[in-house]
Symmetry: D2
Subunit: 138 residues, 4 copies
């Protein structure tokens, strides 16, 4: 954890009680950890707004019977192999499969790859999840 600081701040008594209710409901035993996670979530939002280095996950649902789709998705991934960390594929039923692509790179680059994958015919849904390399999270 490295060097640890201690921070102290004031808040109205009713706001403290509501913070405690939020924390309990979210299942956090530790209030410091809950506050740190609030801060970290804001940091990740800003990293994506500022196009910093980030980690992203693209989830694609597609029909693997769509002609030529597999080849096109694979080619597109190869073009960007230097930012793709790993890919996981699961067969959902006779028609549908889901592919999860984990990437690390500039936020805008990850976004562009997600757009490039999503637009192919046969890709029924594509969703980008924005996360972090962990470096800026302490």
């Amino acid at each position: 954890m490295g060097e640890v600081a201690r921070l102290s701040f004031s808040l109205e008594q009713p706001l403290l009680e509501r913070l405690e209710a939020l924390r309990r409901e979210a299942g956090y035993a530790n209030r410091s950890e809950f506050l740190r996670d609030l801060i970290r979530a804001r940091l990740v939002d800003r990293a994506w707004e500022l196009n910093q280095e980030a980690v992203g996950t693209i989830t694609l649902v597609y029909d693997h019977h769509a002609r030529g789709l597999n080849a096109r998705l694979t080619a597109l991934q190869h073009d960007h192999h230097h930012v793709i960390l790993a890919t996981t594929h699961v067969h959902l039923d006779h028609h549908h499969c889901v592919e999860v692509i984990l990437l690390r790179g500039r936020a805008a680059h990850i976004r562009a790859i997600a757009d490039g994958l999503r637009r192919h015919k046969g890709v029924l849904h594509g969703e980008l999840s924005m996360s972090s390399t962990g470096k800026e999270l302490g």
Copy 2:
């Protein structure tokens, strides 16, 4: 402000520095206020998820030449007059106007009214902003 509590929590030194950068960038002179606002934003999200009493703002952009639209929007607002606090109307150009409707009531009720307004032909855009009565914010 009523009774004030003091809360203290630990965080890694680099996380503290990043929190400070966030705060400065958002223009907060006061760190306590920045932390309180992070907590309050989460409280408002939860109030809407739990269908508590809330304040909402509906922004409608519409073409006031659309036949019968004004009458229909007014009728719909009258049906819900007990939750509508105020309405403001601005003429944007020869065709378009914007109407802002401020409401107070159960979150789900406010949402239903927004849906009811948005779907009319001639309403080009309808957006709901979720806020709070202030009671749970300290």
Copy 3:
């Protein structure tokens, strides 16, 4: 409405049925209008991403007993009077009030004003709703 085009597109029969279910649930009698609204919502998102001219609504909940807050909020609004279309104020209870500020300007400018208002002590919640001047919505 001006000149009207007619657009035709193919979709799988089950997707058509699900589109119909969505439309009925959202209370649209008219399928064309439902499709146009889907397109318009996407257009508004893009206008904000591209920092085009837009309409925005800022909803502020604040404690009007907070010392000096009213004066500061008023001063800040005067600094930006050329982009503020109208302001509506409602007293919620003895302590809290809500103010809705309707603006028209560049998306980034509206965002900056929202940030500037939100950070003041006594402002318990500030939310920006992104809408449109209607011009790009047909």
Copy 4:
């Protein structure tokens, strides 16, 4: 693709031009596909709101030096093994790793698992991406 329907709808000429600009910008060669994807994205949103069967991806960034964390995350995943389809793990640097967990189940169940993973000390960021089994997407 099964049986294919053809749908036709009217829209104002300027709205059509703006739809075309959106489509080109998003890189879709095919307008039908762009419209179908707009509809499908809305369907996935509704499936999550209605707690239907869904596919979700949880991305966790964590410090694998955090004492006991690995064991706790593994235990939690085992408790829910019947909804977990696959897990992928990548080492980001000496301290941080990212784990992507692909799940299939009721939307609320997937959400609860994401909350359960996120709150552990050492988990720096947890994000849930909401997708679909593909069944309702045509």
